[in-house]
């Protein structure tokens, strides 16, 4: 399915050491293509960002990626620079089917007591 520049959405989250939903729910029969993430460590020391997903239920989070930071203000853009027009998604979060609420979310948690700023750019496409 195609997507266009005007379809890209941005969410900002302050990630803590409690695993939490990031952004809105991926609704039924939709698919969230994560195109880009930016993360910055606000903790004065080593920190680990774990991205995960929960699809179609409020069960355990499945880890999809991990990034380590050594110092405060360490910054991670992935990919670096603008999103290419024909970019493939970094991750895909699948919305469930059958009910209006699917409980599919991107999730994130960091290891230290401090926070990590997280910006996610994504597009929701029908399946």
């Amino acid at each position: 399915m195609s997507w266009k520049a005007e379809d890209i959405k941005t969410i900002y989250a302050s990630v803590t050491n409690v695993d939490a939903d990031i952004g809105t729910e991926v609704t039924r029969n939709m698919r969230r293509h994560i195109l880009q993430i930016e993360a910055q460590n606000l903790f004065a020391g080593v920190n680990l960002l774990t991205l995960g997903k929960r699809e179609n239920g409020a069960g355990a989070t499945t880890t999809i990626d991990r990034f380590s930071f050594s110092l405060i203000n360490d910054y991670l853009p992935k990919p670096d620079g603008p999103i290419e027009e024909d970019a493939l998604p970094l991750y895909i979060i699948e919305g469930g089917g059958g009910t209006a609420l699917t409980q599919s979310f991107l999730r994130a948690v960091c290891s230290a007591a401090g926070t990590i700023d997280l910006i996610v750019r994504y597009v929701d496409v029908p399946t």
């Binding site: 399915m1 195609s2 809105t24 609704t27 929701d124």
Partner: protein
């Protein structure tokens, strides 16, 4: 990413001067000869904000302009308007009534409830008919005076949409109504090239012909055209 699979520009479907058009109403077919044409465009037409999982709160939108003018309805009985449309953002699902109050594109016999829980049916979104064009042939509408469409939106995503916008690419035609029975028979049975178009849904029947057009054509000619089509082997 992948591109939409629209293989033909909607502009290839415009009718040239001298082409024939046959519109199907519940009472029968009316055949026209196009005598003139003029392009026009409505861009953008804002349907406004739509909440996550929601619709246009104000209800079906009949695409009105200042002074309650219906943009998509010919401004007089002397014109036929030929529309195609696209929508942005891509995720916005557009449901169409043509004429207003008559759902088209539905798989359901009853009037649709439009929500996430009511099924993924009977809509075109911006992937099917992108705002930048070309527009999907399924968006094609032929409007005569007193017949105009209405639109509703469903936002299937978990994020609110700030502004759903439609674009309409339109060709305005002048026409002559054909009254020669032999010509009408030739047009409807196939020997001559003609664009045939059903006005409104086929279930339970196409929309009724406007009185002004019925008076212009006459009921006997409508009956004749209907018989020609129904008796075609």
């Amino acid at each position: 990413m992948e591109t939409a699979l629209i293989k033909q520009s909607h502009t290839d479907r415009w009718l040239e001067q001298g082409y024939y058009l046959a519109l199907q109403f519940s009472e029968g077919w009316v055949c026209f000869k196009i005598t003139g044409r003029e392009p026009s465009k409505l861009r953008p037409y804002s349907l406004g904000a739509v909440a996550a999982g929601g619709n246009i709160v104000a209800g079906w939108n009949t695409i009105q302009g200042p002074n309650n003018v219906y943009f998509l309805q010919p401004r007089s009985q002397n014109f036929i308007y030929h529309h195609f449309w696209g929508v942005t953002p891509s995720a916005a699902r557009i449901y169409t009534q043509f004429p207003s109050q008559k759902d088209i594109g539905s798989l359901l016999a009853s009037t649709r409830n439009i929500s996430l829980a009511d099924g993924d049916v009977g809509y075109l979104d911006g992937n099917d008919s992108p705002y930048a064009g070309p527009f999907n042939p399924a968006t094609e509408l032929f409007c005569v005076y007193e017949k105009y469409p209405a639109f509703q939106v469903l936002n299937p995503t978990g994020d609110a949409i700030t502004n759903v916008k439609l674009v309409f690419d339109t060709m305005k035609y002048t026409f002559k109504v054909l009254t020669n029975q032999a010509m009408i028979s030739d047009l409807l049975k196939g020997p001559r090239r003609v664009r045939k178009y059903t006005m409104g849904p086929i279930d339970p029947s196409p929309t009724a012909i406007p009185k002004w057009l019925s008076d212009l054509v006459g009921t006997s000619l409508l009956d004749y055209a209907k018989k020609v089509m129904e008796e075609q082997p």
